[in-house]
């Protein structure tokens, strides 16, 4: 299983860009990198997924270097409502079952 390491917590202010980096040194060739967001008392919500280079959607960007041993989630111009826990996951796909293992996540606090 490819494990991930990400900061336990981060602080930011409204309007700033936030970058959360995740390391996954043992990522396998077939693994995708996925980020989830979780608010208190809710299930995690899918944010973005990528395999290599850069992926962008309406919520965030995901930067993945060529060696794929790390990835960076970028949240542009955060607001108070972006305060949440963010999980970086690397897909474990035995037989294509796409079983994901969650780490501790990064607790992002956005301040006024």
């Amino acid at each position: 299983l490819a494990k991930t390491t990400q900061p336990i917590s981060m602080d930011s202010y409204e309007g700033q860009e936030v970058n959360i980096t995740c390391s996954h040194n043992n990522i396998a060739t077939n693994d995708y990198i996925t980020w989830y967001q979780q608010f208190p008392s809710q299930g995690p919500r899918f944010i973005i997924q990528g395999y290599k280079t850069k992926v962008t959607n309406e919520v965030a960007s995901l930067f993945i270097p060529a060696d794929r041993k790390s990835s960076t989630l970028s949240l542009p111009r955060v607001s108070l409502s972006d305060t949440a826990v963010y999980y970086c996951l690397v897909g474990d796909t035995p037989g294509g079952y796409n079983k994901l293992i969650f780490g501790a996540g990064t607790r992002l606090a956005v301040h006024p």
Binding site: Q42, G43, P44, T93, Y97, F102, A104
Partner: protein, 113 residues
């Protein structure tokens, strides 16, 4: 909008009771998962299923069983509830194959007294 629905948002049960947590998805996903989430421990995988009547143990299956009789429904069963099973339980589903994200339900907060 696609959904994963968990039957109860909050549940209180007594020690020794048999508890059923139900999860239904409307996306025709092959894979379904049960996690529990506890403060300081994150999300831990209990069981998962990749097809009807198929199941695989996750990281913490002890004290739990599952049932998947229909593709859209995945049930978690606590055979004899104990206080250490007080937790937030999260169900998720995903499409078969690499590169697909999970869709989670809103969770069931179970308290065993």
């Amino acid at each position: 909008d696609v959904k994963v629905t968990q039957s109860s948002r909050y549940l209180v049960k007594r020690t020794g009771e048999k508890v059923f947590l139900e999860c239904v998805q409307d996306m025709d996903h092959e894979n379904m998962f049960w996690y529990r989430q506890d403060p300081g421990l994150g999300l831990r995988l209990i069981y998962f299923s990749y097809d009807v009547k198929m199941k695989e143990k996750g990281d913490i299956p002890e004290g739990y069983s599952v049932s998947r009789e229909k593709k859209e429904r995945f049930s978690l069963i606590l055979e004899s509830a104990s206080t250490n099973q007080t937790s937030m339980y999260l169900c998720a589903s995903s499409q078969q194959g690499a590169g697909y994200g999970y869709t989670f339900g809103s969770g069931t907060r179970l308290t065993v007294v």
